[in-house]
Structure formats: structure tokens, C-alpha cells
């Protein structure tokens, strides 16, 4: 699962632009991940210029449950 440290987000939309499944909602100063749509590809984490996004390390376990 992608996690958002939303208190450091600059709301620039770079993650939105690369998300292949349109799973990121971004308002003027509000960002959220649509977890039902997200495919955990992690590219939003990589492209973020200020390291706002991270992955829940337990995601593999959650998926196999």
C-alpha cells in the first residue's frame, strides 16, 4: 500500500502524471491514494521530488492473505 506523508506534500502533481491507473487524487492542498485502484507499482514513490510517498513494507503479506 502506498502511504502519503501529507504534511510534507507540495501538491505538485508529478505522481499523478505518471500513475498508470489514475489512482491519485490531488486537490489544491489535499492528496490521497485510491487504494482500490492502486496496483502498487511504486513509480509515484520514485518520481516524487521530495520523498512524500512511501510503501507499506508489509504489502506482500497483505496481498497473500
Amino acid at each position: 500500500m502506498i502511504l502519503v506523508k501529507d504534511n510534507r506534500c507540495d501538491f505538485c502533481g508529478t505522481c499523478v502524471a505518471v500513475c498508470p491507473v489514475d489512482a491519485i487524487e490531488l486537490r489544491e492542498a489535499d492528496i490521497s491514494i485510491i487504494h482500490d485502484t492502486c496496483i502498487d507499482c511504486d513509480i509515484c514513490i520514485w518520481v516524487c521530488p521530495i520523498d512524500v510517498l512511501s510503501s507499506d513494507e508489509k504489502k506482500e503479506e497483505v496481498k497473500h492473505d
Binding site: 505538485c12 508529478t14 502524471a17 505518471v18 489544491e28 513509480i43 516524487c48 521530488p49
Partner: protein
């Protein structure tokens, strides 16, 4: 009967040019901006070429921060290659520049609504017929014959219409910029750092903003962005090169350096500017290309309203005119960008050492380009093609 003939989503340069062109072509036009302010926050290095700008608007001292006549390129080992460029360009105050463009669209007759966050489209039989948006927490809907999406790098409006706008990681630079004061720099010079130490796969820029201020920013190519964070590199750079700099503003942002989307129209909708990936793939400059694309989109929208064909076919002049104006060149430049991407730091240093020996007044972009081309001759063919329009 629709509420508007044309609704433009996004009040940046592309959106304002589209709105102005549409209204001048006789369309009842509304421009929607999601933020409370047109032009703010500024997610941009703010550099434009003089020639490109003057096609659209006379430079106004109110929004010109600096006039550029010199360029410096630095290789990874900090070898400086300087050259002069008369009438090269400007660093803008985008906040005021975007106001000026939106103001002009408004004067021409376009309606403008800020704080309007578009969160959906009205679609009937797969044809876009308007927008759904939130204004101050209230859900609203407006119908339109044509929607022009100029919603920037995120390009979500196109996705709402079922168009593919998601950009590959490799085609996106991850950027960060600080506007700083208290820096002693040449206010007529733009200064670039290339190579992997400051901006892997991209470049770092120092753009003067007048009064001892500068935009200092960098873009890391998406392919490297997992391991190199633009924010961290920029702060490291400031500490090393400008320890006395004071950060007045800092922003991050994505720079789409892709080729223009294959499809920029669909029934009832056109995409333009960053949303259509119209940014120059080598420089990352998107202001002028956005204005070019936006104006064409607005003109084609007005023309389509006259003929009554509001399908993608009715908009076919738009991709054709864009391609002729800039798109074809960008395709060539995208290949150039791919080639530059492959040049190692060692080769960049070698090139810089050679170029640094040429007196500044004899150096031109062409000579620099020739040096690059020597490293990778296939670039030459691509660029010749691009500029010859083959």
C-alpha cells in the same frame, strides 16, 4: 443550448491563450482555474526565448524579472563554457505574466472562474459535453460544446475522457526549485550544470530574477529519481555554491519531456499545453509551446463551432497545425534528448574542455551542438530532420 460554447480547464499560459483565441473566434468561453490564484504557485523556471514570447505579447517590465544575453554551460567537473546570445530571452515573473494573459483573455470576453476544481466530465454517448466541478465545496455542472483541457502536467481531464495521458517515468523529470535571495550572480546570464552529479539525466539551472535573486532548480530524470531526490540535490548544491543564499520560495514539480501525445483530440475535447505533453523535450521549456498549442486549440475550437462538427474529425486541423508549428521539431528533439541521455560525464567533460578553449565571442549554440554531435553522430541526422521539417 449549452451553458458555454467552450470551457477551458486550467488558467496557465496554454489555457489563457486557448480562451482568448476561442472568444476572439466568436465562442462564448469560460476559463476555469482550480487554485484561488491564476499564476500561483509558480512551478516553473520561468525562462522564455525572446523570439517565442514576442509572437504573442510585447515584453512588459512588470513581469520581466531579467533580460538574458549570456549563457553558461558547466560540465560535471565544473568546466565553464560561456557564450553570448543577443536578444536571447527573459526570466519572467510567472505570477504576473499569467495574470496578464488571463486578463487579456478576460478583456477579449472570456469569463473566468477561479477555485473551480474540475473533478469529472459530462459525457454522453462517449462525447464530452461539459464539466463537473467543485466551487467552494459545492458541486456544480456546466455544459459546453467543446472542452479544452489545459490542466497541466497532471493531465487528469484527458483521462476522464478516456484518453491516455499517463507519462512514462523516463519521460518525466522530477524537479525542485528554490527562489533565493542574497546571491551574487550575473543578472544577464543563465547558468546550466549538466551531468550526473547535480541532476542525473537532466540539468540544474540558475536563472536570475533581478535584485540579487535567482531561481535555482534542477530536474532529475525519472529513471534516476528513485535514488536521487531533486530536493536533496538542490539543497546540497545551495550549501556548496551559495551558502549565503536565502530561500524565499521553494516548489517541486514534474517536467514532462515526452513527445506530444499521439492523440490530443476526442469528440468534444482537446488537450493542450503540458496536459498534451507539448513541452520541449530537450530544454523542458513549456511556456511558449503551451501558448502555441493553446492558441491553435482555441482557434480550431472556434472554427469547429462554425462548421458544427464537434467530433474529433472536426478538430483535425489542431493536431496538424501543432505538428507543423512545433510537434515535428519536438519529435526530433526527443530523439536528441535520448541521445544526450547516453553521454557519460567523462565525455561531457571532454567536450567542455575543448569548447572552453574557443573564445566566448566565437562560440555559438551551433558549435556546442556540433561538439555534442561528434560524440553521437546520429543526433545530427535527427536534428537536421527536425529543423528541416522532414
Amino acid at each position: 443550448m449549452t451553458d458555454f460554447d467552450v470551457i477551458v480547464v486550467g488558467g496557465g499560459p496554454a489555457g489563457s491563450m486557448a480562451a482568448e483565441a476561442a472568444v476572439k473566434g466568436g465562442a462564448k468561453t469560460l476559463l476555469l482555474e482550480k487554485d484561488r490564484d491564476i499564476g500561483y504557485p509558480v512551478r516553473c523556471g520561468e525562462g522564455v526565448g525572446a523570439h517565442g514570447l514576442k509572437q504573442f505579447i510585447e515584453p512588459d517590465p512588470q513581469w520581466i524579472a531579467a533580460t538574458i544575453s549570456k549563457v553558461r554551460m558547466r560540465s560535471p567537473d565544473n568546466t565553464k563554457v560561456d557564450f553570448g546570445m543577443k536578444d536571447a530571452g527573459y526570466i519572467l515573473h510567472r505570477r504576473l505574466f499569467d495574470y496578464a494573459l488571463a486578463n487579456r483573455a478576460g478583456h477579449a470576453g472570456a469569463e473566468i472562474q477561479t477555485r473551480a476544481y474540475v473533478d469529472g466530465l459530462i459525457v454522453e454517448d462517449d462525447i464530452v459535453k461539459g464539466v463537473k466541478y467543485q466551487y467552494m465545496g459545492e458541486n456544480r455542472e456546466l455544459t459546453a460544446k467543446i472542452v479544452i483541457a489545459a490542466d497541466g502536467v497532471e493531465s487528469r481531464v484527458g483521462r476522464m475522457a478516456g484518453m491516455r495521458t499517463a507519462t512514462k517515468l523516463r519521460d518525466m523529470d522530477s524537479g525542485y526549485q528554490a527562489t533565493v535571495g542574497n546571491v551574487d550572480i550575473d543578472q544577464e546570464m543563465i547558468d546550466f550544470f549538466v551531468g550526473s552529479n547535480w541532476a542525473p539525466g537532466g540539468y540544474l539551472w540558475i536563472f536570475p530574477k533581478g535584485n540579487g535573486m535567482a531561481n535555482i532548480g534542477l530536474g532529475v530524470n525519472g529513471a534516476f529519481a528513485k535514488d536521487f531526490k531533486a530536493h536533496d540535490l538542490a539543497h546540497k548544491f545551495l550549501k556548496e555554491f551559495f551558502p549565503k543564499a536565502r530561500i524565499l520560495t521553494s516548489v517541486c514539480g514534474g517536467i514532462p519531456i515526452a513527445k506530444t501525445l499521439k492523440t490530443i483530440t476526442k469528440d468534444g475535447i482537446m488537450l493542450t499545453g503540458d496536459a498534451a505533453r507539448m513541452v520541449n523535450p530537450v530544454t523542458g521549456g513549456g511556456i511558449i509551446p503551451g501558448m502555441v498549442g493553446g492558441r491553435i486549440a482555441g482557434e480550431v475550437a472556434a472554427a469547429a463551432l462554425q462548421t458544427g462538427d464537434l467530433t474529433s474529425n472536426g478538430f483535425k486541423d489542431y493536431p496538424a497545425r501543432w505538428r507543423k508549428a512545433e510537434g515535428k521539431t519536438h519529435e526530433g528533439l526527443h530523439r536528441v534528448a535520448e541521445a544526450i541521455f547516453e553521454i557519460t560525464d567523462e565525455k561531457l567533460n571532454k567536450m567542455a574542455h575543448r569548447l572552453a578553449k574557443i573564445p566566448t565571442d566565437e562560440l555559438s549554440l551551433m558549435k556546442i551542438f556540433t561538439a555534442v554531435a561528434r560524440q553521437k553522430p546520429s543526433i545530427l541526422i535527427d536534428v537536421t530532420r527536425a529543423f528541416a521539417g522532414i
